[in-house]
């Protein structure tokens, strides 16, 4: 092993470097040990504690042992670290004192002095001993002594500087131990030395960096220094630390450049700013690019050189660190920043030079990475590399354009010169890549050599880039590269290749709604399609562009012109049509029908106004605009009538079309709207609500996966549909913006017409809107003629002339002269025909057409109205006066009265003076000219009056009162009321009424009174007939005399039989009654006549000399002023003889002071029980029908209370004889009893002692 012999060459080969350790003393000894040593040393790792709080590291130490020479020791100021000896070892195996004294000691001393002179303190003395030696030695001191000597001779107080290594070449445990001890010692001291020396070095370096603001400071010098450190770290395999050094340098430099940009440039930077002469990209294939390093050392490096060198080192280290992807990423950043820096530093670079440099660099980096990774890794890390690929592609492209390589007629001389210059800048290919086929250098050279070669390389790169982008899902980037490619192809005049890329890109932009890219790409596509002669597509694209607002006005005009000129060119050769979607030419705004409800009768005229927005920048003349209409016959007949349609149509008749959404595919829009409903879940047992909630009816539709909306660029696949029904308008000029178009059509068949497809034709070009949405329909109907008759007022009043409106809807029937309506009169209703009746004729849409005189002739049976001539689908309206003869229905007074009073009763309960008039219907059958059947119409008249009558008596004198109540809204004049009884002649009715006509306002009543007088015995019943003349108060003179209003009724038992008198007398001795003190009530009942017809009933009993009847009297005091003491009622038998009188005496006590009315005395017929109807009668039932019978003529509150009181009485009495047959009570008709003391009053004086009053009250 002679390596130590040669002096160390100053050259640096980093990887081979190891820290230097010098060996002095016994060389042979060392040589013998060296092999073991060199292999033992790195075996065990050692922890290296670092200064500046850096994390400690384990390192495997190796070192380069060299023979000690004085010149190895660094001179003052030498910063070299690589050549720095970190440790000095002296080897000896001397074991006897003489030898030591004689030679070894001096040698050691000399060695030590040299070290001291260079103030290097990292040394070690190794004493090797082996037993072999001491065999032959006789005079042996204890061996330790040598070591001891050395120790105290040289290593004072650091005795560990001297190490013993015993029998190194033996194989014994002892040997092992000593070895280990020695190695550990060696390692520690080495590390200590590192820490110390590196520490010092770093300090120096730092101070140097601090100086960087000083004028003389040179970046390159500093660079060298810090790189030295980096080298050492690298040498120690501390790549991280090494990398840090370079990154620091990198950052420092960048900072300078930035500052330079900001204005303060360090003068040393100017070295770097010299114009770029060579642009042979990065060199990454060898650990250190020496020539670049020297350039830097000599301060002749350009920015590119520096950057390249720096990066090459970083790259190397990163690769050591297994971080190839970081290399790629850093590379891209580097290249970008270099370009920026050159700009910033205003370094002059020949055009294209940078492109070359970048291109080469990209490929170099990529190849370097590929060099150290396997395919799989690369494929899985495309994301990192693809950037470089596309950057390279980009650069190659720009080179191509620069050097005229992208054109069908190759580069011109000027281009060629440029190419030559660029190639010159590459210099000669470097040896290390010389024999790799695909080296970046070769690629570039070749690419620039010829148009074909360039194309090949460019396409390769582009495709590679596209492929990579797509493979990692960067479709957009891929598209962009694709577009470049397309441009390239266009330049090369091969549009067919370009098209797919443009289409692809366009599709993508449309899908994502990017307006500007869309426009731009479309322009390119248009050009491409033009070259390809795809007329249809070209025209479509043009139309799209012409309507595109991102395009300049001129361009729009141009594209529009393209379409027009094509159209004009093609006109001569008809037949072949070109169908394009409408939306890119014009848009529908709104549509408006007249008539607005879009309903016309057969033969009617319908017009459709359409507002169409032309998207074209210039006025466009259009041959025809046609709307295809789909016709469907309506099943439902009724639907065809005008009323229905008018009811069910949007009356304003304006349909707005949604504006075409600008390319913005907001996904939520094309989703159907949710349809939510409330959900009620009831329990099956009882129908009670279990759960409620919200459910979605159309969930299935919403949850369905959304199929990506198909080709947004609708290919002109719209089929022209031909149809029988077409709305046309010809030769229109569409101005830019809104245009109003008018379509007119005459309705033929009835049914529903749906506007389907709109087609604008410009020459052979058809712009088609395949479906009008929203649905646009109009309806055509045919209608049967009909007659309607209705009162003008809400109700017709009987008895006075009333206006009735006749409406004839002609429908499809045309009314000719002589057509007439034949009305067959109803007997109780007559039609009053005046001199002038006018009829008005309206059109279907209620416009007044004409106003004509109407002739009405009426015979007793028939009235004929001759209609004026009117066209179809018109309306004839006229009014006639009719009169219904008023009469209280002639069915017997009693019932009729009930019939009329019954409702009145009801209203009374709910205090509403509601008028519910009795009504009479009149049917009229009319024969119309258009049908053989006669239509029957019913008119309902209501009687304006309600009449009631009542009987009034004064003693035996009798009066009849008739009340006429006016229920109508009108006021009336009532005149000469008259009452007659045709039946009984000897009876006379004396009117007590005013002669003058009475005025009754609406809802008012008028009363008429007659006195009854008679000579002989009056009949049990009267049959009266009331009649009164009437006329509406409002109109003065009526056209015809009106029949008077009549009312018939009967009066029975009006003749007075009994007179009842009551009288209250104060207690004897007092002239006035006092409250609380008893008074006597005298009641006298007097029979006024002898036996009459009316008395003939079961109450009548015959005694020997006269007839008598049973009566029941009852004293009731509803006002409870009186307390009746003792029995208040009783049954008496009354002789049926004139002036027969029956007196009753009873006690009553006034409860209040003042004028009190007398208590009421009532009389009833007391009918004894008859077996006939005893059985079914019981307590309640008799009260019931008794009350009924009482009801008859007595007015309400009175009798109700009487029932009460009587009820109480009888229930009391009836309680004992339960189940026994009951006698019956029958009220005497009011006419038969006259209470002469009715309305009398008695004065009652308050008594002194009130507490009695108290008592009586409670």
């Amino acid at each position: 092993m002679d390596a130590p012999e040669e002096p160390l060459p100053p050259v640096i080969y980093t990887m081979e470097n190891k820290p230097i350790v010098t060996c002095a003393g016994d060389q042979n000894l060392f040589t013998s040990i060296y092999p073991t040593l060199s292999q033992q040393l790195p075996r065990e790792p050692m922890e290296w504690r670092r200064s500046y709080g850096r994390a400690p590291k384990m390192i495997h130490l190796e070192s380069n042992f060299v023979q000690f020479k004085e010149e190895l020791l660094p001179k003052e100021g030498n910063k070299a670290l690589l050549t720095f000896p970190f440790l000095h070892i002296y080897w000896t195996e001397c074991c006897d004192t003489e030898v030591y004294k004689a030679t070894v000691k001096d040698d050691l001393t000399k060695w030590q002095n040299v070290l001291k002179a260079h103030s290097s303190v990292d040394w070690l003395i190794v004493v090797v001993e082996n037993d072999a030696k001491k065999k032959n030695k006789t005079n042996i001191l204890p061996r330790t002594s040598i070591v001891d000597k050395i120790r105290n001779d040289f290593c004072n107080k650091q005795s560990d500087r001297c190490v013993v290594l015993s029998d190194p070449l033996k194989d014994s445990s002892r040997t092992q131990e000593s070895w280990n001890a020695f190695l550990t010692k060696l390692r520690t001291s080495l590390l200590m030395s590192f820490t110390k020396n590196l520490g010092r070095f770093e300090d120096d370096m730092r101070t140097l960096r601090e100086k960087r603001t000083e004028p003389g400071w040179s970046f390159c010098d500093y660079f060298m220094v810090q790189e030295e450190l980096a080298f050492v770290f690298e040498m120690l395999q501390q790549f991280e630390d090494a990398l840090v050094q370079y990154d620091e340098l990198d950052a420092l430099f960048s900072q300078y450049v930035v500052n330079f940009g900001a204005g303060d440039g360090a003068n040393w930077l100017t070295f770097f700013c010299q114009p770029v002469k060579s642009w042979d990209g990065l060199v990454l294939r060898k650990p250190i690019d020496m020539e670049k390093r020297e350039l830097i050392q000599r301060q002749e490096a350009t920015v590119l050189d520096l950057r390249s060198y720096l990066f090459s080192r970083q790259c190397t280290l990163l690769l050591f660190l297994q971080r190839p992807w970081e290399v790629a990423q850093r590379a891209l950043e580097l290249l970008h920043s270099c370009v920026q820096e050159l700009k910033l530093l205003e370094v002059s670079v020949p055009p294209g030079a940078l492109d070359c440099w970048v291109f080469l660099s990209c490929l170099e980096v990529l190849q370097r990475i590929e060099g150290c990774c396997d395919r799989a890794q690369i494929d899985s890390n495309i994301a990192h590399t693809v950037g470089l690929w596309s950057y390279a592609t980009e650069k190659l492209k720009s080179l191509g354009y620069l050097c005229g390589l992208v054109s069908e007629k190759g580069p011109n001389s000027e281009d060629l010169n440029r190419i030559v210059d660029l190639l010159a800048g590459l210099g000669a290919e470097r040896p290390e890549t010389a024999n790799t086929a695909q080296s970046p250098y070769k690629k570039l050279k070749e690419a620039l050599s010829s148009v074909e070669a360039f194309e090949k390389h460019y396409l390769d790169l582009s495709h590679a880039a596209i492929e990579m982008h797509t493979s990692i899902g960067r479709t957009r980037s891929a598209r962009l590269v694709g577009k470049d490619l397309a441009e390239f192809y266009m330049r090369k005049k091969s549009p067919q290749k370009a098209e797919i890329y443009l289409q692809g890109a366009l599709k993508n932009y449309l899908a994502e709604g990017w307006a500007l890219p869309i426009t731009h790409t479309r322009k390119q596509l248009a050009e491409c399609q033009k070259h390809l002669g795809q007329t249809e597509n070209y025209l479509q694209t043009s139309s799209l562009l012409a309507s595109d607002h991102h395009v300049t006005e001129e361009e729009r005009k141009h594209f529009c012109q393209e379409i027009l000129s094509f159209a004009s060119r093609q006109t001569d050769s008809p037949g072949h049509k070109i169908v394009l979607p409408l939306h890119c030419f014009a848009q529908l705004r709104d549509l408006h029908f007249t008539p607005s409800n879009a309903v016309v009768h057969v033969g009617g005229v319908l017009s459709v106004d359409i507002t169409m927005c032309s998207q074209m920048p210039v006025p466009v003349h259009v041959e025809q605009i046609a709307i295809n209409v789909h016709f469907s016959i309506e099943k439902n007949n009724y639907r065809k009538t005008a009323e229905w349609l008018t009811k069910h149509k949007t009356s304003n008749g304006i349909i707005n079309f949604p504006t075409e959404t600008s390319p913005c595919p907001a996904s939520q829009n094309n989703l159907p709207a949710l349809e939510l409903y409330e959900m009620f879940e009831r329990s099956p047992s009882d129908n009670s609500l279990n759960t409620t909630g919200i459910i979605c009816k159309n969930a299935h539709m919403l949850l369905r996966r959304q199929e990506s909306c198909a080709s947004l660029e609708t290919p002109s696949g719209v089929a022209l549909e031909g149809g029988a029904h077409v709305l046309k308008c010809n030769d229109v000029t569409l101005e830019p913006g809104a245009n109003r178009l008018m379509f007119r059509t005459q309705a033929k068949e009835p049914g529903t017409y749906t506007l389907r497809q709109l087609c604008v034709s410009v020459g052979p070009v058809r712009f088609v809107l395949p479906h009008l949405y929203p649905l646009v329909q109009y309806d055509v109907y045919s209608q049967e003629p009909q007659l309607r008759v209705e009162p003008l007022a809400d109700s017709l009043l009987a008895g006075i002339p009333q206006k009735v409106k006749f409406t004839v809807t002609t429908g499809h029937y045309t009314v000719k002269n002589g057509d007439s309506l034949q009305l067959s009169n109803a007997e109780a209703m007559l039609i009053l025909c005046h001199a002038e009746n006018r009829a008005v004729i309206y059109s279907n849409t209620r416009e007044k057409a004409s106003d004509v005189l109407l002739r009405v002739q009426s015979s007793d049976k028939v009235t004929s109205i001759s209609l004026p001539a009117a066209p179809a689908y018109h309306m004839i309206e006229f009014e006639l006066e009719v009169l219904s003869l008023p009469s209280a229905p002639v069915t017997g007074g009693e019932s009729s009265m009930l019939g009329m009073t019954e409702p009145h009763r009801k209203h009374k309960d709910t205090q509403k003076a509601g008028h519910c008039m009795a009504t009479t219907d009149h049917k009229v059958s009319i024969d119309c000219p258009w049908s053989i059947y006669s239509t029957v119409i019913a008119l309902t008249f209501s009687l304006p009056f309600r009449t009631t009558h009542s009987l009034l008596s004064a003693g035996t004198r009798k009066y009849i009162q008739v009340c006429v109540q006016n229920l109508s809204e009108l006021d009336f004049q009532l005149s000469d009321g008259n009452l007659v009884d045709p039946g009984s002649a000897d009876l006379q009715l004396v009117p007590l009424n005013a002669k003058s006509p009475q005025h009754t306002h609406s809802k008012q009543s008028v009363f008429f009174v007659w006195e009854l007088k008679w000579a002989r015995e009056p009949p049990p019943s009267l049959h009266c007939q009331f009649s009164v003349g009437f006329a509406p108060a409002s109109e003065g003179q009526l056209s015809i005399p009106l029949k008077p209003y009549t009312y018939e009724f009967q009066v029975e038992n009006f003749f007075t039989l009994y007179n009842v008198r009551a009288e209250i007398l104060p207690p004897s001795g007092t002239e006035h009654c006092r409250t609380g003190s008893l008074c006597s009530l005298e009641v006298s009942i007097t029979r006024l006549s002898g036996l009459l017809e009316v008395d003939k009933d079961e109450a009548l009993s015959e005694s020997d000399e006269y007839f008598s009847t049973k009566l029941m009297y009852e004293v009731v005091d509803n006002s409870s002023n009186w307390a009746v003491c003792g029995k208040s009622s009783g049954v008496i038998s009354m002789p049926v003889v004139a002036q027969a009188t029956h007196r009753v005496h009873m006690e009553v006590m006034p409860l209040f002071a003042g004028y009190l009315p007398l208590p009421d005395v009532r009389l009833f017929k007391y009918l004894p029980h008859h077996s006939a109807h005893s059985s079914q009668l019981d307590a309640d039932s008799w009260i019931e029908n008794d009350s009924l019978s009482v009801d008859k003529h007595v007015d309400d509150q009175l009798d109700s209370s009487s029932i009460k009181s009587r009820g109480s009485v009888h229930s009391a009495s009836s309680s004992e004889h339960k189940g026994l047959p009951m006698p019956r009570l029958q009220a005497l008709p009011p006419g038969q009893v006259f209470n002469s003391s009715m309305g009398m009053q008695v004065l009652v004086i308050p008594s002194k002692d009130d507490h009695v009053l108290e008592v009586s009250v409670t």
Partner: protein, 166 residues
């Protein structure tokens, strides 16, 4: 979020407002009534949707990005619910097939209305808005969904979220 009382009252008014405006058009048949009712529900739900969109934009402004669907649902149940209804969802269940059931045992908008079955027939009106709130929130977080609700005894209620797989 506004003071909760305010929110509650406002919400009630909104519901009645929507239903009043619906009554203007007189309802003829029962079927029509149901449909009309549905329209109101939908209207309320749509209101909720828009509000949800806005709210979620605010609420998620400072949160970390969501990991996945479940992460989002959790956010709705916790943070979102707490901010709007002052409490968390009591129970979240899912079939991992895109259906989630959020159960709130004491739903803010029902508590003051009834405890039990009284007014049950009206309950759903008061859930529509919240359904929308959820749907809006989710949709703004990029999840298309349908949200339905269910009450059997107030104030507890369930919201079911059906997520539209894209």
């Amino acid at each position: 979020m506004a003071d909760e009382a305010l929110f509650l009252l406002l919400h009630n008014e909104m519901v009645s407002g929507v239903y009043k405006s619906a009554e203007q058009g007189e309802v003829v048949s029962a079927a029509k009534a149901l449909e009309e009712n549905g329209r109101c529900i939908t209207k309320l739900e749509n209101m909720g949707f828009r509000v949800g969109q806005g709210l979620i934009e605010r609420f998620t402004k400072d949160t970390a990005r969501f990991k996945d669907e479940l992460d989002i649902m959790k956010f709705i149940c916790k943070d979102f619910w707490t901010t709007v209804f002052k409490k968390q969802i009591d129970n979240l269940r899912t079939n991992h097939q895109g259906i989630y059931v959020l159960q709130d045992n004491k739903f803010r908008l029902l508590t003051q209305m009834s405890a039990g079955k009284q007014y049950l027939e009206h309950a759903s009106k008061y859930l529509a808005f919240t359904c929308g709130l959820i749907r809006g929130g989710l949709s703004n977080l990029g999840i298309k969904s349908i949200v339905t609700a269910e009450v059997s005894s107030m104030p507890a209620c369930k919201f079911q979220v059906m997520i539209q797989k894209l």
